[in-house]
């Protein structure tokens, strides 16, 4: 399809549908090549998000995923995947595209219409690496575009795809779903989610100086690094264990140190302070507000409201609450809850908690420091499995 309203960034105007096996050699090699070029690129190196992406798609990392996927069965890509990626984050379009090629599909990727430098760097690099003739198939089956809101275009691409991936808020998803897909198409939706953390105070108390600094840095990466604005970033910290107050003091003191490098622009301060005022106006179950300069605000809750997901912070504003055990909050875990980040707790206990309570929420359980790590299992989907079809063979 040719259209004046579409900006063509990479690839063929009409991608060739030529399903491959998931984790095919050419795709794995292409991603490793791309990873190498990005990691050597002086401009790309300035962007930590590009480096994370490049690290993610290097050979060792992809091989690990491949190994986990292989089940001795026969798989082939579904055909064509249409990706509508988030408008406010530069990198996720690339992850979405990688999911598409790793599962063996042709792809049409709509990037953010906002001009992000990162999008340009990544697209230019993809284009360059695809020039190598050994990636002919990938090149012919890739189309990366951008366009302003236009139902006609979304209608068209939706009508021809075999799978559609939508990243976005509830309203955006509802709007995009006005554009029907083929009867047999599958859809993966990455909607707005909420995440929280569970910390065992006993474990924090026992940490050495060095260990607590490491934990603080990891927590910083889970939160401040993305302005506390990613779906998987924790907003609420639940504390279990004995000397909770001692643990909290030790923990937050170190977070303040770790967050010293955070770029706290005045606009962020005003936003954050405004948010604190709004919370103070609206909530009567706040026990205490602790301000560590403007770098960190911690709000102690007397109780967790039924709508737990309303406890959201920005730029370093966290809520915390003491519990005796997770059972106490089981009823508050709705399908909106995505990631549970933990420290000092046995992960089997957490898995049991989700399963024994028959919960609809918590799709990810990860140790502190891994909240933002993107995976082929996300929001409860086995993405590569969903985007490929399994050929069942009986003898």
């Amino acid at each position: 399809m040719k259209n004046d309203k579409i900006k063509y960034l990479v690839g063929a105007h009409t991608p060739r549908v030529f399903p491959l096996e998931p984790y095919s050699n050419e795709v794995c090699e292409f991603l490793d090549d791309l990873s190498g070029v990005l990691r050597k690129d002086i401009t790309a190196k300035k962007y930590s998000d590009i480096m994370t992406l490049a690290f993610w798609c290097r050979k060792a990392s992809i091989n690990k995923m491949k190994h986990e996927f292989e089940d001795g069965k026969y798989h082939l890509g579904r055909g064509l995947v249409f990706h509508i990626t988030p408008s406010n984050v530069p990198i996720n379009f690339a992850f979405s595209y990688f999911f598409g090629i790793l599962s063996g599909n042709a792809n049409i990727v709509r990037t953010p219409s906002k001009d992000f430098v990162q999008v340009k760097i990544i697209c230019d690099t993809i284009q360059n690496v695809l020039k190598n003739s050994k990636y002919k198939i990938i090149k012919e089956s890739t189309l990366i575009i951008s366009y302003e809101k236009d139902k006609g275009i979304t209608d068209y691409y939706s009508s021809i795809c075999d799978a559609r991936i939508i990243w976005g808020g509830n309203e955006a998803i509802r709007n995009i779903r006005q554009s029907p897909v083929k009867e047999k198409s599958v859809e993966i939706v990455f909607a707005d989610r909420y995440s929280l953390a569970l910390i065992n105070s006993n474990a924090i108390i026992q940490t050495s100086n060095h260990e607590i600094q490491d934990i603080a840095n990891k927590f910083y990466n889970d939160t401040y690094l993305m302005d506390q604005n990613a779906c998987s970033t924790p907003h609420l910290i639940l504390w279990i264990g004995e000397d909770k107050q001692g643990a909290k003091n030790k923990f937050w003191e170190n977070i303040v140190k770790a967050a010293g490098k955070y770029d706290l622009a005045p606009i962020k301060v005003v936003d954050k302070y405004t948010q604190l005022c709004e919370l103070s106006i609206e909530h009567d179950d706040i026990a205490k507000i602790t301000k560590h300069r403007n770098l960190l605000y911690v709000v102690d809750m007397k109780q967790i409201p039924d709508d737990m997901c309303s406890l959201r912070g920005k730029f370093g504003l966290f809520f915390q609450h003491d519990i005796e055990d997770m059972e106490q909050i089981a009823s508050k875990i709705t399908d909106k809850v995505q990631t549970l980040t933990y420290y000092g707790i046995n992960k089997e206990e957490l898995i049991d908690f989700v399963i024994q309570n028959h919960l609809q929420g918590i799709d990810r359980i990860v140790p502190i420091g891994e909240a933002l790590n993107m995976g082929v299992h996300w929001d409860g989907y086995d993405i590569i499995g969903m985007l490929s079809r399994q050929i069942s063979v009986s003898s």
Binding site: W167, G168, N229, A230, L264, P266, I267, L279, H283, N294
Partner: protein, 358 residues
Amino acid sequence: MFILDEILSMSPYCLDKGEKDKKYREGLKELTKKHYESCFMYKNMLDNFSFDINREYDVNEYPFLPVRLFKEYDLCSVLKENIAKTMTSSGTTGQQVSKIYLDKTTSANQTKTLVKITSDFLGKKRLPMLIIDSKSVVKDRKLFSARGSGILGFSMMGYDTTYALDENMQLDYNTIEAFLEMHKGDDIFVFGFTFIIWEYLYKVLAKTCRKLDLSRGILIHGGGFKKLIEEAVDNDTYKAELAKVCGIKKVYNYYGMVEQTGSIFMECECGRLHASNFSDVIIRNPKDFSICKKGEKGLIELVSLLPESYPGHCILSEDIGELIGEDDCPCGRCGKTFKVHGRIKTAEVRGCSDTYEK
């Protein structure tokens, strides 16, 4: 409020640091207590901030409300039936606007204060007034937009109020010339908004050879340089260019916001913005809200003794400013003097989900 009545009877720039501090300690305590007792949202906030209304605090220790709160909440400390008028900020389409609820007392005090402050620059005598705007802005009296209420507020200081722009924002030469002819030899009070004057008076005059003689004019303008900064026009350029096209020499900018109408900050002959007896300014370091030293840039907090009907006596603006001095301006007026550097920059917010299509 007793303190305010007392100040209203004085010359507007007479209080030095020590006297002002004494009055503000008392005034802010009274205002804070009043709003705490009559505005439940304000009370919730102060309770959650562990603020004890019965304790003595320094002037800079009172909690400040970010301006955006007035867009999101109906912050009001009087009964509905006592609201005399509601003012709104002139936000662009689609933006939420601030809603400021005024009772008779606060509204009257705003007018009295504005008269006090501006007469220090215009003189006690009322002057013929030329407004660089269109009459249509004030026609709908029910909509007290910041622009309309600004014009009406300042109109108290003049007589033979004449609008220089027609319904279509075109310069109305005939009306202006007739007005100037009538008041030949008199000082004239010219009023308007910074951007409107630039766009609809300056630019038009700069393009044509038709001349307007405003050499006897005293211009007071406000509203901010936000749009002009894009055209690289600062206060000095503004003054110089206006003098070029219409001979106007006395040009005073003022800084203020709809959340604290009346107690505006006027620019003096030395080019500094002044806090009067009615208001104060505190420059805060964004890192920790500590108080910035002279010459250090920070967020501007505005303090005013006027807001009795809504909790707007301490407000955190979204502007960056810097303190120049206190009680030491060569113009002779007491109070803090400062500079405004403009609005804080909007940041690229990171994250992973956002409404894509609206």
